[in-house]
Each structure stands twice: as C-alpha cells, then as structure tokens.
Symmetry: C2
Amino acid sequence: MIESIINCKGAELTQSAKGSGPVFLSTRVRLARNLVSEVFPDRATKAQRQQIFSRCSASLASLKTLQGAAVFEVEALSELERKVLIERHLVSRELCEADRSSAVIISMDQSSSVMINEEDHLRIQLLRTGFHLKKVWSAIDALDTALEEHIDYAYSPELGYLTACPTNLGTGMRASVMMHLPGLVYAEHMEKVVRSVNQLGLTVRGLFGEGSDATGHIFQISNQQTLGEEEVAILSRLDKVLRTIKDHEINARYRLLESESERGKLLDQIGRAYGILENAHILSSNEAMNLLSLLRLAVDFSLLPEEFRATVDRLFIECQPGHIQFYAGHDFEPDHRDFVRAEKLRSEMRNLPPLNFDNLVQSK
Amino acid sequence: MIESIINCKGAELTQSAKGSGPVFLSTRVRLARNLVSEVFPDRATKAQRQQIFSRCSASLASLKTLQGAAVFEVEALSELERKVLIERHLVSRELCEADRSSAVIISMDQSSSVMINEEDHLRIQLLRTGFHLKKVWSAIDALDTALEEHIDYAYSPELGYLTACPTNLGTGMRASVMMHLPGLVYAEHMEKVVRSVNQLGLTVRGLFGEGSDATGHIFQISNQQTLGEEEVAILSRLDKVLRTIKDHEINARYRLLESESERGKLLDQIGRAYGILENAHILSSNEAMNLLSLLRLAVDFSLLPEEFRATVDRLFIECQPGHIQFYAGHDFEPDHRDFVRAEKLRSEMRNLPPLNFDNLVQSK
C-alpha cells in the first residue's frame, strides 16, 4: 500500500512538482482540531484513544476529498515506512512516536493528509506545489467545514479552537511555505532575514522543522501566532513577508551574477555540483541536498531546461535516507546508504543534458 | 621560436608521452661539467662569462644530437617564457635568475637540453618518457664523450669532474625518475617510503624539485651521492630501489581495491575528479594536478582507454601557471588564471569518454 505513495513519480517535496518555480517550493496549511468532550491524546487511556480513532476515521471516511484515501495505522508501519512518510512531510515525527490508535489518512494525490491521535485528535494538512496561500486556505477551510458537519469540535467562543498545546490555541492554524534561498545564503544575508522575519512574528526553520539545518538552502517559513487574529489576517501578513523575501532572494542572485568574480564562483559551484552528482560514488544525504540545490539554481538560471525542475525536486525527496533504504528494499548502514544514494543519483543524472552556460540569464 | 616548443603537442612531462605507463612518468639524467682553466660562472666577470658562452656554444653546435636545436639566451626571454621552460623542466630556476651570457640549447624533440652558465659552465640533460635509466645513461654518456672531443673538462684524476658546488663533485651526475604514487599516498605509506629511500642515499622531492610539494602525487627520486662511486653503480642502486617502490605502489593500489570500503572511497575520488575537471569554472594549479593524478589512475585501472594517458600527461604540463598564461597570450592575475585553466580543462574533457567502471581491473 505504502509503495503506491512512494513510487508515485509525480510526488515531490510537495507531492506534485507541477506549478513549482524559482524560490517557492510548496505551500502547506495545517489545522489542529479536537473533538468536544474527549481528553487530549496524551492524557487518554487506550480505550479512549481507540474511541477517538473510531469517531474521527468514520467522519473522515465520509468526506468527498478523502474518497479512495489510504489509511495507515502507525502501529502497522515499519520503522522504514514511518521514515519515508516523515521525509514526505505526510506525517510528523510525533505521530510516529505516538501510542496506539494513531493513524494517518492520505489522499490519493498526497495533497491532503489527516493525522489522528497526534498531539491533537486531528491534524488536517493540505499541501500544494508552489506559492498558493489563498488556494490552500480555501481548500482546507472547505475540508474543515465539511468535517465539522460530522464532528463537534472543541471550541471556545472567546479563545477559538482548543488545542493540547497553548501555542496552537485560537485558529489552530499553521501555514508554512518552503522556500529555496541559495542567493541569500551565498550572499550571507540569511541571518539578517531570519532576524527580521522573527520580529514580524514568523518562524524560519530548516527542511525538517524545528532544530533542523537548512540543508539544500531550503527554509520553511511559517506563522508563529494562532491567537487573537483571524486566519485571513495571519495569511495576508505571511503572504506579504514571503513576497518580500522572494524579492530579496532574486536580487541577491542577480547581484551575485553582476560581479564577475562572484559570478565565476557561483557558476563554479553549479558546475561542480553537476559533475559530482554525475560521477560520485559516495554521497551523504546532506551533500546530495546541497548539490541538488545548486542544480535547482541551474534551472532557475536557464542552464538546464525548465522540464528538469520536477526531476530535481523529486530527487530532493528521493535521496533522503529513508527513501534510499526503501528503494533498496532493506535497512542498511549509513556508509552503504551513501553508496546507494550516489549510484541512484549517477543513474538519474544520465537523463540530464549538460549545463548550457551560454543560456545564462543574467538579469531579471 | 619558443612557441614551437610549447605548442608541440607531443610534449609531456617528458616531452613525448609515448612509452609512458603506470607509475613511471619519466627518466632524466643530467651532468654538471666545467671548462678547464675558466672560473666558475658566479665568480666570472661579464667578459669571462661571455667567453665561456662562446666556447661552449661553438662546441655544442658541432654535435650531431643538437643539429637543429634552438638556442635561447636567458636575457632575451620574457618572464613568461622562462616560466614555461621551467615548467617543462628544460631549464632550472637558477639559470633563469642567472646573469648575462646564460643560455639553454634545446633539441628539436626536447629530449636533450644543455644549459650554459648556470651554476656550472655546462649542465647537460637528457629526458625520456617512462623508466629507462640505462638508455638515458648511454645516450648522455655518448653526448658527453662527443662533447669532450671539443672541450677540455675540468677534471681531477682523484676527485673526478670538478663542479661549482661540492655536492656535484665526482660524477657530476644526477639521475632522477618521476614517479606517480597515488596508491602510496592514499594508503599513507609515503612517509615510510621517503625515510627508507633517504637511508639508501637517495632523495625524494616534489614535481619541482627541492622544497616543492608532491602535487599530483608525483615524486622525483634521485641519487644524492656523486663522489666515490661510478655512474653505473649509482644507477644500478637507483634502479633497484625504484623497482621496489613501483612494486609497493602497485601493491598499495590493489590492496585499496580489495577492501570494499576503500575501493568505494577511491572510485568516489576518481569519479569526482572526472566530474570536477569536466564542469568546474575555477581551478587552481594545485587542485588541477591532484584531479589529473586521479584521472591518470583511472587510465591505470582501465576506467579510461589507454590512449588518454598521453592527454592526461600533457595536461599535467599545460595546466601549470606559465603555460596557462602563455596560451592566453598574456600575463594575468592568479584568479583569472584559475578561470582560464578551468575553461581549458573543460574543453579538453569533452574529448574523453565517460569513466567505465565495469572495466575496473581489480587485481594485478
């Protein structure tokens, strides 16, 4: 069952790469919801968790958006399968460490997923390639409304949606956008950006959330606040900040290209990334991500045809440790993993044309 | 005039790469000789140096081996031309820093060269691709004998040939062999080898002699002693040691290939070298040499066809700073040199087939 999710070739960082372009990789909104008059999962007994699971899954099954969706009970998943779902951002680490009666429901196109008995009873998530805060919000809002017809949510007119952790209280909404910011990293402006973004009540994290590094120059930017402000207001503020960051990123890139010596260094980095991905026999996950980041930049600069953006985005996912092991059919030592990863990347690179530096787009 | 020497495409580390194989790059023998009853060059007046030059060049001109040879007076050479000749091992740094009336005579095939008014009146050199101590010795011995018909050498029946520096006294002979020893370097055995070789009265140095690094895993091994032993005895001792080092090198390589993890690391290094040479936009001379060394190893392991050994050996020479500037037609900053070097290597790499790891020869 899980194979169908993993082998879905359209599946990217954001399930389908169509619609992805420079800078913005994907948009994700998740809502934390709880059933009225049920204890929160970490306080619940085995029987209570079981009852929460039954009520939630029955209600979810009746939703049109989730017709044909796959249900995975965490207990039934192997370590490796859990890893793979985490790497696809379809489940959280917390869910995988949760007690019995925890599950995730994943729609066929992997754009919607609902976790049951994570920190909250329900964690509803919608994911879409590219930058689409409004669209994703309307879709998840519709899903939430549809679900509310079947479930009584724990809700306070004064505080809003009640959640297990006070940091989610109110809207229960976390909107996060994955951004590819190599220009700001190379120009050494990221620290400044993070500081400004934090001051605006937003959070910047690496690809795998809190405490993770910004491997592959990928950053997740999300709202911190859930209380005292309406969803639309939060999203509009986020939208504005993200567009500004995008402008800074594009400016940083073209400023790098303007200076002959910086341009040389950047093209050197891109060329080496291509050469190493094409020829290395040992590649750690970290190094692979950073090299793929440069390949994505090569697409942005027209050194590679646009059609290969989807390949690069897919490889970002498929070169993660869990995916590498999953394809090989078994668990193995990190050393061997690095060998298998390099082999996979060498073989994928055979489908890419050489970098065409004559095509370099040097200005906006 | 100097263009003909530099643009000679057969020209390698050792002028012609034909006959080169794994481990042994080239064999060089030089003799220090002085005219009787003339002061040594660094003690000579301008007029005396002029007279030494006249006598020597007249005598050399009459030799059959040097028919058609080119004569370059140091004073007439630009800085860049001197650099290029040093990089080809056709002249010494000392000659290039020498006072007036210093010159070098280079045979058409670049295998013989004679420096006039270096540290000694005459420094006769023969160079040949591969490992040919005996052949090179007979050839230079014949040249020396022929020259002695025209010149009275400063010679003491007790001490042998008299030289400006006592370290050359006796035979005046320095035989040196250029070896490519990546196996011993990767296996971290070079230090031990250098120690043993030193104990046997031999010297190990980098590509550019005393004090130079072993860039490209290339080592020059030569006799230290010139006094109290006949040439043939010195050469036979050197021959024996060099054959032992070659065996150690080959063993080190195949031991690396035997261990799965070491083999992986080595193939990774070779693959990356290929990919970087093919795609980088900035390459220092040092990095280029080390990458080319791995490409040479790829030929030894049959990952690249044998016919490309000559290309790699030629590039070892042609990626030196002087050559890079010479091809570009002018002097420029090291930064720009690294850019031009990378461009040259990218273009040369287009003629190479991809590495074929299925061909890997894993045992002797």
